[in-house]
């Protein structure tokens, strides 16, 4: 069923047919175009630049980290992006990753709405979850910030996320709330009807009552929409999460990508952010144990860089696997990856000295004309890319954060 179709039903105030239910595991077998999806991944400690960026301009196969990526032809690496106003910062810079607001380290910093939340408004209305927001640890904030600049706490527990998307749920309280709200709306409608009869001609009153009626109708449609999802069974999915204890960090990263993949595959959401935030204490990945943060301040020591690169290779490995598996799922005339824009980036260009210049940035999938590697001569506002992404997703806006213009890079 197309989006348009469903919206029309909503406008008519009708209950939605349960056809969406049949989508189940196939992301979309509808006749129209497959939906567009997007995921933002913030690797909060960046990547060691000499290993991340291709050595030869334009050739991704000369990147130490990316040379073995299987979906290289569906990927572009960008060099020399930055957020204007931020040349160096501390770890708070992660707050600005998807907002571009400078000065995040100030004590009374106020953030802005993040890119994913604008996209969720556009893409979020047709899925059970308007957006999902993951992190590795429980920290209370990640990449997503609402329109008041308040952090939307990310979810970090794989089990909970899986259960939220696919597990059974006690809906009694939610159903009761919707029923109460509908009773309230009935009351308000009746009051308006009585008033309309009694004082329809009074100056000014009619316009006021009409505008309120219109708002009530819209709210009614929203309740129907919520009811629809409450009465729609969740998709059935086999649990494919890893439980490997040996490499806890690695397992976590793998599982979050896995959850993102099945969320897209089941069309549970179309917008995801994933913050790879760091924590004190040691982590263990194949080939290295140590504090990720401690290692990131390598100060050029070869043995530390070697250990750090093990952590970063591990992250790239999971990212690579995510892209590969997304690309294997057929959808419409392409693959799930072709309809999903994947952005991997960071708030740090070089976390060893906390600089925020030359931010590592990859755009993959999304059906764009990919160009392997693009290096800008001058530092370029990352928000230009964000603005372009908004345009690709039909958000009509002429500025986002520090954007100067849509550069039509993709």
């Amino acid at each position: 069923m197309s989006n348009m179709h469903r919206r029309n039903l909503l406008k008519a105030g009708m209950a939605l047919p349960l056809a969406l239910n049949t989508l189940k595991l196939r992301a979309s077998d509808n006749k129209g175009k497959p939906p567009r999806r997007i995921i933002f991944i913030c690797n909060s400690l960046g990547f060691y630049p000499p290993y991340f960026f291709p050595k030869n301009q334009g050739d991704i196969s000369t990147s130490e980290y990316l040379k073995d990526v299987k979906s290289a032809e569906k990927m572009t690496v960008f060099g020399n992006f930055f957020h204007p106003g931020m040349s160096t910062s501390n770890h708070d810079s992660e707050k600005s990753f998807l907002t571009g607001v400078p000065n995040p380290e100030a004590s009374n910093f106020v953030n802005n709405i993040s890119l994913d939340q604008i996209l969720a408004r556009k893409l979020g209305s047709d899925t059970r979850f308007p957006f999902l927001n993951f992190s590795i640890y429980d920290r209370g904030w990640g990449c997503s910030w609402n329109d008041r600049g308040v952090a939307i706490p990310p979810m970090h527990n794989e089990e909970q996320i899986f259960n939220m998307m696919f597990g059974e749920e006690d809906l009694k309280a939610k159903k009761l709330r919707i029923k109460n709200d509908q009773d309230v709306l009935d009351c308000l409608r009746q009051d308006l009807a009585q008033l309309g009869n009694a004082r329809g001609n009074e100056t000014g009153q009619q316009g006021k009552l009409d505008s309120y009626k219109a708002v009530i109708r819209e709210l009614e449609a929203q309740l129907e929409h919520e009811k629809y999802w409450l009465s729609t069974e969740k998709p059935t999915v086999e649990k494919s999460l890893s439980t490997d204890k040996e490499f806890g960090f690695s397992t976590k990263v793998h599982n979050m990508f896995e959850l993102a993949k099945i969320a897209f595959r089941t069309d549970s959401t179309r917008v995801i952010t994933f913050s790879l935030d760091w924590i004190y204490g040691a982590i263990k990945v194949p080939g290295a144990t140590g504090g990720w943060h401690t290692l990131s301040h390598h100060a050029g020591r070869p043995e530390t860089i070697e250990k750090l690169s093990r952590v970063e290779r591990d992250i790239v490995k999971h990212f690579n696997q995510f892209l590969f598996e997304m690309d294997r799922i057929r959808e419409g005339d392409g693959t799930l990856l072709d309809h999903t824009t994947v952005i991997l980036g960071s708030n740090f260009g070089d976390s060893s000295n906390h600089t925020c210049k030359n931010l590592p940035t990859i755009v993959a999938g999304g059906g764009y004309k990919h160009q392997s590697h693009v290096e800008f001569e001058k530092p370029t506002a990352l928000c230009n890319l964000y603005l372009e992404l908004l345009h690709h997703h039909d958000v009509d806006i002429d500025k986002f954060g520090s954007s100067v213009r849509d550069m039509r890079l993709l």
Partner: protein, 970 residues
């Protein structure tokens, strides 16, 4: 893109160089957003008094314009781009700009022949009649602030939810703006907020016991900062610790868990330690504790305690907590920067937390909403717990271990910290496995499992990967393992191991079967190990107290809903009017028999109704409408009983309106109006969207940021309540300060953080709102100051100049901070462009006088320039800047020159009428939701007395409101 963007200067200030001249718009230059307002939208309210539109004076007016204006503004000279000859031919055009220049006496210029007052009136009335007219919407939606205050007052609670409701003001100046529509998103947010507030007033699960916790333990903090708090006497000594990112590092207290959201009381037994005159500030924050992070989380400042006492005293503050939140403290004193040793700082012996605190029992929402009905009120329990004891200690247990390393003994697992830990012996020799811990349960209490945490902050050596647990009656013969399993090695939080069944056996053995070993040796380490026992004090099952209503009568229910609705709607309701609001409640009462639950649905219908959300509502008579209006403007709420009684008896008119306005301003609820009006009129709502650079202004901190807007509010509150002259807006010899603000302003002798009236010496460049830090801060970008932004702010908010926008073809110039000597020259340059000069000559000069104040409002004589800095930013009190060129603060307004801010104030004071007129216009817009029409402006102007000292603020507010009420009743 419109030219507006050139004035936006979102992060760095810009100014515009204008290249042509167009005067078509009324320019509204705001600091952070621009509200281009086409003057056609400056509409008139149809039911306000106005002169007849077919004025017989039309002919006279045109003659007067020809006499006084055409010398400069005829078709050939067109000074300022104005061709009056062409305009005089028109029947309607946007005359606002000309009107404002004529009414404020700016035109004709002082050196030209002036019209008499009567002639000026004729000209103004003509301009008002030719003004474009279109219908102004006759209603507005109430703002989120009005919603929250009203519902709080109606229910008898105090819940600040305004921040959880989206801001729908957009770029409008005032919340009340009638152009803002009620949207589905807002109504949906109100539905959610209504649920939360009603649930808070009448909690489904009753009220938890009145709990109190006593603690002197803080949670683990980041190793970099934990050294600045240390054991001292019976408690802890804190020094002033700013984290490397510049945030105030605050330390979380351990051990209490707010079970529900609500108001809690925090009593600190604390004293100042140190031989200096100033008080130490104890900043109390609420937030969620995350160890994983060294960055203090976004926390809310609950309150500040001023410590001047050398002996321990109990000091109490209140704050609202959500479940899962804790309290943290930061201690500020400029004398105790990061002290690891020594006897200086804030000594906190212990903290007592109590709550949730209810003002009365049975709670107010019940006695208010169900007044006259019998309530079933059970006793509310009280509970006390002492924090710090582990559960093992609480059940009288003991602990023993297989081996230990010196300094890493078994007690370290029971001291509440994961930074200290037990470790098996590794020197002089390495202890042989098995490594184990035995927990003894001598009183045979029921134990359902163990709680384990790794030691945090180290290299992870010895962290338990696998374990096995066995039980014994005598400590010798051990049964088969009852549970075996994995533990996560990287978590800093507790991991619970639940037994298959509860046990009361005397001995529990925790055997480490595998652990992290970085060097291949057999080791084990544990940060925390404790039993999980139902019999611990903290886990005692608390019984909630549920208050119910004895009645199940439908008539009682109707009465309850009626009383609530009539207050919310400010009207009397007929049976028919009330019926829809009763229906759902009555249905619910019939099906559930639950009176309180049934009431809640009715209350929600009332506060989601258009009668409540759209103002004016549906009022039985005009006096009810006036009552609702006054309560909304002065209290941001609904009328109280007295107002409703006056409305019902039809007495709310004439002199009684004046008496009531006075009573309402005296009421503490009027504080909300002062806060709301100031934050909108002076743009203080944007206060926190400017972050002063820590490199340039390292001493700026949370505390001064907290108090700066309070100064402005306290000052305005004083001016209004004391009915002081409008000139005090510009200058006075006092303000409201505390120790921190006085420090910021360089004023000696103010001790303690209580705000109080402070009198300035004549040399102090403060007094009046222009020189307040709050205003000086919001008119910058946090880095450099901009004379243009500050000038525009004064022009617009204080002086009331009407400005035009820059034309289309303009380019912005970025100032070069390193060459500040030429800053003024740069700005002067655009004066030479005649197009720019027309406007900027009345904008920039104000800003030049304020150049003596930096972006945080501190006095300066030289500019600060940021030093180039690479690498990680690390906060340091001396900042990263060097001093550059001297500040130049002279300028010229009109024909008058000034040397500095003192001179500027004199010039502004000489034209108090303009300031008063602007204030009246702003207050009118705040109260009525639209800019006054030109005819209304004539009326507002008439309110201004001819003697400056007679022109008083409360009088102006009175007159604006009386005028509005009268107009609304026509």
């Amino acid at each position: 893109m419109t030219p507006w963007k050139h004035h936006m200067g979102n992060h760095r200030w810009r100014f515009v160089v204008c290249a042509s001249t167009v005067v078509t718009y009324v320019c509204i230059v705001s600091i952070f957003g621009i509200a281009p307002v086409r003057s056609q939208e400056l509409n008139k309210l149809p039911n306000f008094p106005c002169s007849s539109s077919d004025s017989p004076l039309t002919g006279d007016a045109k003659k007067l314009f020809m006499t006084y204006c055409l010398d400069c503004h005829d078709g050939s000279s067109q000074e300022g781009g104005l061709n009056l000859v062409a305009l005089l031919e028109k029947n309607t055009f946007d005359s606002t700009f000309i009107f404002e220049n004529v009414i404020t006496g700016k035109m004709p210029p002082g050196d030209m022949e002036q019209p008499t007052d009567a002639e000026r009136s004729v000209m103004l009335e003509w301009l008002a009649t030719v003004q474009d007219k279109s219908e102004q919407k006759s209603y507005r939606r109430i703002s989120r602030h009005e919603f929250v205050h009203s519902v709080n007052d109606l229910l008898g609670v105090k819940l600040d939810l305004a921040d959880s409701i989206p801001e729908d003001r957009g770029t409008r100046d005032f919340d009340s703006d009638r152009r803002i529509m009620l949207t589905k998103e807002m109504l949906s947010a109100y539905f959610v907020a209504a649920d939360k507030m009603i649930e808070f007033a009448f909690p489904e699960n009753g009220y938890p016991p009145d709990q109190s916790w006593l603690t002197s333990q803080i949670k683990d903090s980041h190793p970099t900062y934990s050294s600045y708090v240390r054991d001292y006497k019976d408690g802890l000594l804190f020094s002033w610790t700013r984290a490397n990112n510049g945030n105030n590092y605050s330390f979380f207290y351990e051990g209490f868990t707010p079970s529900v959201k609500g108001w809690y009381e925090f009593t600190f037994d604390a004293a100042k330690v140190g031989d200096f005159a100033e008080d130490i500030s104890l900043q109390v924050y609420a937030g969620k504790y995350y160890f994983a992070d060294d960055r203090p989380q976004p926390q809310r400042l609950l309150d500040v305690i001023s410590l001047g006492n050398k002996d321990v005293k109990s000091l109490t503050v209140r704050g609202f907590l959500q479940p899962g939140e804790n309290v943290s403290v930061h201690c500020y004193s400029k004398h105790t920067w990061r002290q690891k040793t020594g006897d200086q700082g804030a000594y906190i012996k212990q903290l007592k937390v109590r709550g949730p605190v209810l003002e009365q029992w049975p709670p107010k929402p019940f006695t208010k909403t169900f007044a006259g009905l019998a309530l079933n009120v059970p006793q509310r329990e009280t509970q006390e717990s002492v924090v710090g004891k582990t559960e093992l200690q609480q059940i009288g247990g003991r602990i023993s271990v297989s081996s230990f390393q010196k300094g890493m003994e078994k007690e370290k697992m029971q001291d509440g910290s994961t930074r200290t830990f037990w470790h098996t012996r590794f020197t002089p020799d390495v202890a042989k496995p098995p490594h184990y811990v035995i927990l003894e349960n001598p009183a045979s209490k029921e134990i359902s499992g163990l709680s384990y945490a790794t030691w945090s902050g180290g290299n992870g050596n010895g962290q338990v990967k696998e374990y096995s647990i066995s039980l014994s009656d005598d400590g010798n013969r051990w049964g088969k393992p009852i549970v075996q399993g994995h533990l996560n090695t990287q978590w800093s939080t507790e991991q619970n191991i639940l037994f298959p069944a509860k046990t009361s056996k005397r001995y529990i053995k925790f055997i480490v079967t595998d652990a992290v070993s970085l060097d291949g040796k057999s080791l084990a380490s544990i940060g925390k190990l404790d039993v999980i026992s139902e019999e611990g004090v903290d886990r005692k099952k608390a019984t909630n107290a549920t208050v119910t209503v004895a009645s199940v009568s439908q008539n009682d229910l109707k009465r309850v809903i009626r009383r609530f609705a009539e207050k919310a709607f400010s009207s009397k309701l007929s049976e028919e009017d009330l019926a829809p609001y009763n229906k759902a409640s009555l249905d619910s009462l019939v099906t559930t028999g639950d009176f309180v639950r049934a009431t809640k649905i009715g209350l929600k219908s009332v506060i989601c109704s258009h009668r409540f959300l759209l103002a004016p509502g549906v009022h039985k008579r005009k006096s009810y409408r006036a009552a609702a209006y006054l309560a909304r403007v002065l209290w941001l709420s609904v009328p109280d009983k007295r107002l409703l009684d006056l409305a019902e008896s039809g007495r709310l008119s004439g002199e009684m309106v004046r008496v009531e306005i006075d009573r309402m301003i005296k009421d503490t609820r009027s504080q909300r109006m002062v806060h709301s009006f100031c934050s909108q009129w002076l743009n203080l709502r944007s206060f926190n969207s400017v972050s002063p650079s820590l490199k340039l202004y390292p001493v700026y901190d949370d505390l001064v940021n907290h108090y700066l807007p309070l100064e402005t509010e306290a000052y305005m509150n004083h001016l209004i309540h004391e009915n002081l002259p409008v000139s005090r807006l510009i200058d006075s010899d006092f303000s409201f300060l505390n120790q921190r603000l006085a420090q910021h302003y360089g004023i000696d002798g103010v001790i303690g953080q209580q705000m109080r009236k402070v009198t300035f010496s004549p040399q102090t460049p403060r007094g009046g709102i222009l020189t307040m830090g709050s205003v000086l801060k919001i008119t910058t970008d946090g880095f450099t100051t901009s004379p243009i932004l500050r000038g525009a702010w004064i022009s617009r908010n204080i002086a009331g100049n009407t400005l035009s926008p820059p034309p289309e073809s303009v380019t912005a110039i970025e100032p070069d901070a390193n060459h500040v000597a030429t800053l003024k020259e740069q700005i002067d340059a655009h004066k030479n462009q005649s197009g720019c000069y027309a406007c900027h000559k009345s904008i920039d000069p104000y800003g030049f006088a304020l150049e003596s104040f930096d972006a945080t409002g501190q006095w300066r004589t030289r500019y600060q320039v940021e030093k180039p800095h690479v690498g990680t930013f690390i906060y340091r009190p001396e900042g990263y800047f060097k001093l550059a060129g001297n500040v130049e603060s002279s300028g010229m307004v009109g024909e008058s020159t000034f040397d500095d801010v003192f001179g500027l104030k004199k010039i502004l004071l000489s034209d108090y009428k303009k300031v008063a007129y602007n204030f009246a216009k702003k207050y009118f817009e705040y109260a009525n939701g639209y800019k006054p029409t030109l005819l209304q402006r004539i009326e507002l102007f008439k309110m201004i007395p001819t003697v400056s000292e007679d022109c008083r603020l409360k009088n102006l507010i009175h007159q604006v409101l009386m005028y509005s009420v009268k107009g609304g009743r026509q």
